[in-house]
């Protein structure tokens, strides 16, 4: 089980702030592909994934128990 967080535009697009994904292991690239398929218009090319509050690269592996957040382009300040 992997926990997923959605923020800002993605929270509105998916209609949820978080959900659980039933996987034991998945790469960041695969997770983004899954999100793009599941939520058309996700715009995965411009979304980063944070795992346990750290930015990741596309080939990084996410494991059951990890907390993931989809990070659309930030705009604080």
């Amino acid at each position: 089980m992997i926990k997923l967080h959605y923020f800002a535009r993605l929270r509105e697009l998916t209609g949820k702030g978080e959900e659980m994904l039933e996987r034991d292991e998945i790469t960041v690239r695969e997770l983004l592909e899954w999100a793009e398929t599941t939520y058309p218009g996700f715009g995965a090319d411009y979304v980063q994934v944070a795992v346990n509050e750290e930015y990741t690269l596309l080939d990084d592996i996410i494991q059951s128990g990890d907390v993931c957040a989809f990070i659309p382009p930030v705009s604080g300040g």
Binding site: H5, Y55, T56, S75, G77
Partner: protein, 148 residues
């Protein structure tokens, strides 16, 4: 207060100025980012900020650490407000105390640049005829350390 925090209430700059001040400090710089009414001729009614709070506070603290390494002797505090903000409200405050003024200015400007790059906070602009989440689209980095 925490020196690196996401808050929901109005920001009191004095609190952060007091926190960073120390007897070796000859200069303090405070930056606030405020809600501006007009941007490129479009009138903003208000803004709404959202954050991934624990990661945002962690990233703010990391920025503070980067700063203290680059400019030894400085002391830093950063707060960002989330929720609905009205015109002129403070969205972010950066306070830097330093022995000398040059580093107080440089470190402060470095902080706001870094916040806009790496801290998971999002701004939605609400106008009379619509609204939009702001954020410049950047392709996912293929390799190397992300967003350094």
């Amino acid at each position: 207060m925490k020196p690196f925090e996401i808050v929901e209430e109005p920001i009191d700059i004095q609190k952060y100025a007091d926190y960073v001040l120390h007897p070796s400090a000859g200069a303090v710089t405070i930056f606030t980012g405020n809600v501006r009414e007009w941007t490129h001729g479009v009138r903003t009614l208000y803004l709404s900020y959202e954050a991934y709070v624990p990661m945002a506070e962690k990233k703010l603290a990391e920025i503070g650490k980067e700063m203290e390494e680059k400019w030894p002797g400085i002391r830093v505090a950063i707060a960002h407000r989330i929720g609905e903000l009205q015109i002129s409200d403070i969205a972010v405050v950066i306070a830097v105390a330093s022995p000398h003024r040059k580093s107080a200015y440089e470190a402060n400007e470095y902080a706001i640049d870094r916040i806009k790059e790496v801290v998971p906070i999002w701004k939605k602009e609400i106008w009379e005829d619509g609204e939009e989440w702001i954020g410049s689209q950047k392709k996912y980095p293929e390799s190397g350390v992300t967003q350094q």
